[in-house]
């Protein structure tokens, strides 16, 4: 994302300028922020909640909360990571509501040993996804990531899908950097192992 050069050597992120205008009552400035980040918030919310209606609600509630709390935005983090933090909390709350009686948090199911050491030795072809049509592939990818515990899924989505840095992911989720790294590794290895069922070399013609 481009930074705007201001006086001297100090750089101000364009989002901060929009936040400042929104704080002063300029709703159009906030509209720009909504248009810039609504797709990402929807994607993150859908990944965490696994429910379309919840994801739609999260988009609305996350932006409204952000708007109401603009005064609390310090500017020492990016607006986007601050917004994502709100969206993740809203998403986890909705996931919890849908799964009444079951605690859902960023710490859930992370103690499992599954995926800590790879078991499936099967190699994949150079373009394994070419074995499938686009919509079949999307179904496989959705189904595979849905199977991860929420704590792993969230870290993987923020870090690898949305491209936040490890430090930003840690800040967003209120986790330590080592905790993010450990979850990311296990999330990646679990996904890899699960995808091997579909992508292993020569799967379709049955030759090992």
């Amino acid at each position: 994302m481009p930074n705007i050069q201001t006086q001297g050597t100090e750089e101000v992120h364009p989002d901060v300028l929009l936040v400042n205008r929104a704080r002063a009552g300029d709703v159009q400035a906030f509209e720009k922020l909504v248009k810039q980040y609504d797709r990402q918030v929807f994607r993150i919310a859908q990944h965490i909640t696994q429910n379309r209606e919840d994801a739609e609600d999260v988009v609305q509630d996350a932006f409204l909360k952000a708007y109401e709390k603009l005064d609390q935005f310090q500017g020492n983090s990016k607006f986007y990571t601050w917004l994502v933090r709100i969206a993740v909390n809203e998403s986890l709350m909705r996931l919890r509501k849908r799964r009444t009686g079951r605690m859902v948090s960023i710490d859930e199911d992370v103690e499992t040993d599954e995926g800590s050491m790879p078991r499936d030795l099967a190699d994949w072809g150079p373009d394994p996804e070419m074995q499938y049509g686009q919509s079949e592939l999307a179904d496989i990818l959705r189904k595979t990531i849905q199977g991860l515990p929420p704590g792993f899924r969230t870290v993987f989505v923020l870090r690898d899908v949305e491209g936040l840095s490890t430090e930003e992911t840690a800040e967003t989720l209120g986790l330590s950097v080592p905790a993010v790294k450990s979850r990311l590794l296990r999330a990646r290895l679990q996904l890899r192992e699960r995808l091997s069922r579909y992508f292993r070399k020569n799967k379709r013609d049955g030759v090992k």
Binding site: D38, F42, V59, Q60, L121, L141, F156, D160, L195
Partner: protein, 77 residues
């Protein structure tokens, strides 16, 4: 280097965040361990595939509706 030690460095390796010395040790392990070569390549591919496929697109009509709802509520704040 054992496979466990290699796996512990996998994320940093995939992101090119390892020192030259460690890199040489990891490469040495890869020369003799097909298991870790496969794990590294398929993990890299896993990340690439998820990065390059949009799984939850926000349709334009829904997007418009959400934007309007958000801004209408903001104006009432």
């Amino acid at each position: 280097m054992t496979c466990s030690e290699f796996i512990a460095q996998l994320d940093d390796l995939l992101e090119n965040r390892v020192s030259a010395t460690l890199r040489a040790e990891l490469d040495e392990h890869l020369r003799t361990c097909e298991h870790c070569v496969i794990t590294m390549n398929t993990t890299r591919k896993t990340i690439e595939i998820y990065r390059s496929h949009e799984l939850y697109e926000l349709p334009n009509d829904l997007r418009d509706r959400l934007q309007k709802a958000i801004l209408a509520k903001c104006k009432k704040c």
